[in-house]
Symmetry: C2
Amino acid sequence: MRMSELSLRTGVPIPTIKFYLRERLLPEGVKSSPNQAHYDDGHVQRLRLIRALVDVGGLPLGAVRDVLDNIDRPPATFDLLGIAHQAVAPTPRNDADRAAAVDLLRRLGWTACLDDADDVHGDAAIAALATALQALDDAGFAVRPELLDRYGTAAMDIARAEIAGIPTESAAATVRYVILGTVLIEPLLLALRRLAQRQASAARFPPNEQSDPDAG
Amino acid sequence: MRMSELSLRTGVPIPTIKFYLRERLLPEGVKSSPNQAHYDDGHVQRLRLIRALVDVGGLPLGAVRDVLDNIDRPPATFDLLGIAHQAVAPTPRNDADRAAAVDLLRRLGWTACLDDADDVHGDAAIAALATALQALDDAGFAVRPELLDRYGTAAMDIARAEIAGIPTESAAATVRYVILGTVLIEPLLLALRRLAQRQASAARFPPNEQSDPDAG
């Protein structure tokens, strides 16, 4: 297909496609004349992936490039989770107190995370938890230990199912699954949590009772 | 305390404090002379809250103002979750297909969310789910229905505990809890999911086996 059809099929404007070509995020098409090239379904898939990373993952261009590089050329080491997490990790605060994070991990029994703390990705994961806990503390928002444990249990329940589903038939399939599963599932989880809150809230605070103070 | 001590206690630089005062996000101190004012613990708390919303929640200034307004002057209506979600909601895509989102909500039995779809906040919540599902689809990343159900179950488990914990002794306490619980708990949940993945991954892919190909 021509670039105009590629644009139509993906909803990505032509100037943006040209930009991705120049930046080598999108591979060149096959030249059919000096000024024209043909694109295939691989280009459609790649463009959709880039848009998903940018629009949903909110990744800056440099991180998109890292993710694509890792999909194209699977890393020799197996620390895929670390690479995926790094791409979407918020900047951790240096002043965040790690003691609370370490205490929580110990209470949850996640000892592999603690053994892992001297690895650069393991350290970043703990820093993210420390930053989140510090922010709650700074805002004076105390989370009950039972609720923290509940969050931990839910996270582990999800993670076990996710890790069990990692395909291992090829390194490329593994990388793709882990990276996209990290970047694209986070917005899904947050959307589900919000809808679940609305659902649970409707049970505790029925809308009718609120809108009509005379009722009941 | 003087502004210099307020700055020391919160780690917020003096020019930033002056900016928040000018923008009326932070209430004025009590003037002790034409050029000096005194600040109290209320200012410390408010500054920490603003920094948490900006640094952790990643909220732009306009959204921070909305959140603070809602905490200071609780809304007459009770749609607090909607207001909180709105403040931190990603921009939904208009082209996202809602059918998949509605199907999923129906399968999960979250009928209150569907009844709620003509409310502006309810509609935004469904749009966020539709956007997340569409992005997965666009990227060619299929999530097994069993895994989707597992995400739903985990989200509901968390939401029930959260909604049950909402304090109702005053409108201000309710608003504060709901808004901060939405903005500040999301990074905590994402950090926990990543650590849980590392923990579960260490069980399935023991680090020793990978670093030494001769082992086993």
